[in-house]
Assembly symmetry: C2
Homo-oligomer: 136 residues x 2
């Protein structure tokens, strides 16, 4: 995956944190690979997403369900930011080709090399927006 962020003089910690979350999107979410989860996320990470349960178990289960029901799902990354131990990803999730999908922002806090905390905000893409510009 091409790096989608604006170049700055990142610290070594920031380079590592950005690469970790890029890897999560490439090797877990877009590969839809539940077996890769443990390389990126602590088992006891703090999950703030209102639609998710705590722990990596429910995430692995979700990935297996997506792989079965929507194997063409994509997390299409539009931009990323890194600031110390925090990484943000703004992306367009689609379940199948042509799916309008949803816009989402994920925020990750990294601790000791793996994701330790996660927040998200999710909004369905609506047809007929009053704004002709793309939400991305």
């Amino acid at each position: 995956m091409a790096r989608i962020h604006r170049p700055r003089n990142y610290t070594t910690e920031e380079e590592v944190n950005l690469a970790l979350v890029e890897g999560l999107f490439e090797n877990v979410l877009n590969a839809i690979d539940d077996e890769a989860v443990d390389f990126y996320i602590w088992p006891d990470y703090i999950q703030h997403s209102p639609s998710a349960r705590q722990g990596t178990g429910p995430l692995k289960e979700l990935l297996r369900r997506i792989k079965r029901d929507h194997p063409q799902s994509v997390h299409d990354v539009k931009r990323m930011m890194v600031d110390g131990d925090m990484v943000m990803v703004h992306y367009h999730a689609r379940r199948w080709p042509g799916d309008k999908g949803w816009a989402a922002v994920d925020i990750y806090r990294i601790e000791n090399g793996l994701i330790a905390e996660h927040w998200d905000v999710v909004q369905d893409i609506q047809p007929g927006s009053i704004n002709p510009l793309s939400p991305f």
Copy 2:
């Protein structure tokens, strides 16, 4: 407003960009002051929010409407990030005391000292989430 972000060795540009967006939240959005808009946002800024029209005119009109209908509205900032010319704000918007409101992430691009581009993702706070933790 207290700064809600994690300390890093910011560049001077990042310090300025962070302060600009902090000022937007304090002096425009939470002050609900349409007359302060031009100190923070270029008139021809690029607006990606699906619920907004282009230009600062519609934003000023919205602020006047909020001031009239919901003068106790707050944009309760939970965390911010800065990365070069990009600033992110994760906040809880509420129209009145006790309003469940919505979670939002705003992303701003700053150019020549003012906001030049804006994206957002918005999600209503739902009662009865399967996740007992706060979305923030």
